[in-house]
Symmetry: C2
Subunit: 226 residues, 2 copies
DNA sequence: ACGCCACCTTGATATTCATCAAGCGGCATC
DNA sequence: GATGCCGCTTGATGAATATCAAGGTGGCGT
């Protein structure tokens, strides 16, 4: 049982530099959990004493406005961790809601315990700092996107990011409504933007199936050149 | 000379847990620099091999869109560091522009050197991780603000954050145009929002001098209750 | 004190996007 | 196969904010 956990954890960079003894200890304190589709993991404001590694599935991180509007901050997919940066705060509370988009398996790790172990693994500290650094860069890019770019730009660049390099055809792996919120547009607007891109002959969409016809034009849209 | 630098650095948490020898070494490799009003420090995309501590003045961090629009990400004031999180990235490039808003003094520190020193000061690692953690939380709050709140909300909460707890009168310490960009509204819109708040009797503004008449009402606006 | 310049304000208009309301279509259930 | 639900789409309208275009206004140097 603990072996299965170890096996999972070893997949992730954060655990790569631990000694076997440390990994054992981490695995002993870790728990495997399964979530159904739509099942919440934690809510914004809950005390944050654990962080998570996604073995399989997709976890939606979102925030709720007082009026009840939801903004999806990110979708975490298999092989990634989340909430690990909270380990270092004083009275840590999760700043977001976490919900499974599809049936998912997670490993949950005790933050305090892991932090204690970090003191004996400076290499892991550095890995973790690199990780946080990238997240910071990502969030700054996100803010840039939100304040400097139109909805169309955001949709276009997201599609480009989703699309495999060498293949013009692919499937959207998350519901359009969720994707819309991720990009900070309403579902209606998202739909219209996609329609617009189709009418311009840049791509076509059938359900979740996307076919890009003119990648260059799509890149232009992503840059904001009408 | 190096003593002056040491004195400055000791003010900041990041250097609090270094041994005297480590602090000496950091100070030797550090440089003091002065910027005139409006003088750029680095540009978005420049190779990022140093980070900075603000001794006095204000540094504006901003991003530029392809069309030339500027979005102010943050204003760093005396006693704070910035760009330290880039230390852990591979081919680090500054993700923002940095410019002095007023004549400023900075200490610049060699990232690679400091990172090397970090290996011998796990305590400092933890301080740094706490620091990054807070920044992450701040950026998430920022994204929340941008996508879930109106311009008026953002202005109202910013004013509340600026205002001293116990005093209803204070001065805006940065130009309104810069503040507008910080809050992701155009200067015209910013001006109109302020006018609106004045017309509602919530506050009055004369130049940079702000007087809050009804703090409760301002808090309501900040929450989005019209 | 004068004039200049940068910053801010104000007004009129245009654009983007949200909201409201309705219809469509697939998919699961019965 | 009918029923109903949910997610998506489409249309019509409205609100928030940007843009364009003129004025203020204050600070600063001469």
């Amino acid at each position: 049982m603990s072996d299965e956990l170890k096996h999972h954890l070893q997949q992730h960079l954060l655990f790569a530099r631990l000694t076997p003894a440390q990994l054992d200890r981490a695995a002993q304190r870790a728990r495997l959990l399964k979530l159904d589709e739509g099942q919440p993991l934690f809510a914004q404001g809950d005390p944050a004493d654990r962080f998570f590694y996604v073995v399989s599935g997709q976890i939606k991180l979102s925030r709720l406005s007082p009026e009840g509007n939801e903004k999806v901050i990110d979708i975490v997919s298999a092989g990634n961790t989340f909430a690990e940066a909270l380990m270092f705060l004083e009275g840590p509370a999760y700043p977001v809601n976490a919900t499974a988009l599809v049936p998912s398996e997670l490993v949950s790790i005790d933050s305090r315990d892991f932090a204690a172990m970090l003191r004996d693994s400076i290499d892991t500290c550095f890995l973790l700092m690199g990780d946080m650094s990238q997240r910071l860069r990502g969030l700054i890019a996100e803010i840039d996107n939100l304040s400097l770019q139109s909805g169309t730009c955001r949709v276009a660049s997201y599609l480009l990011k989703m699309a495999p390099e060498d293949e013009d055809q692919f499937r959207l792996d998350i519901p359009k409504g969720v994707m819309a919120s991720r990009l900070s547009v309403k579902p209606e607007t998202f739909s219209r933007i996609l329609r617009n891109l189709q009418d311009s002959g840049i791509l076509s969409i059938k359900g979740a199936q996307v076919t890009i016809h003119d990648r260059d034009a799509l890149e232009d849209r992503a840059e904001g050149l009408t």
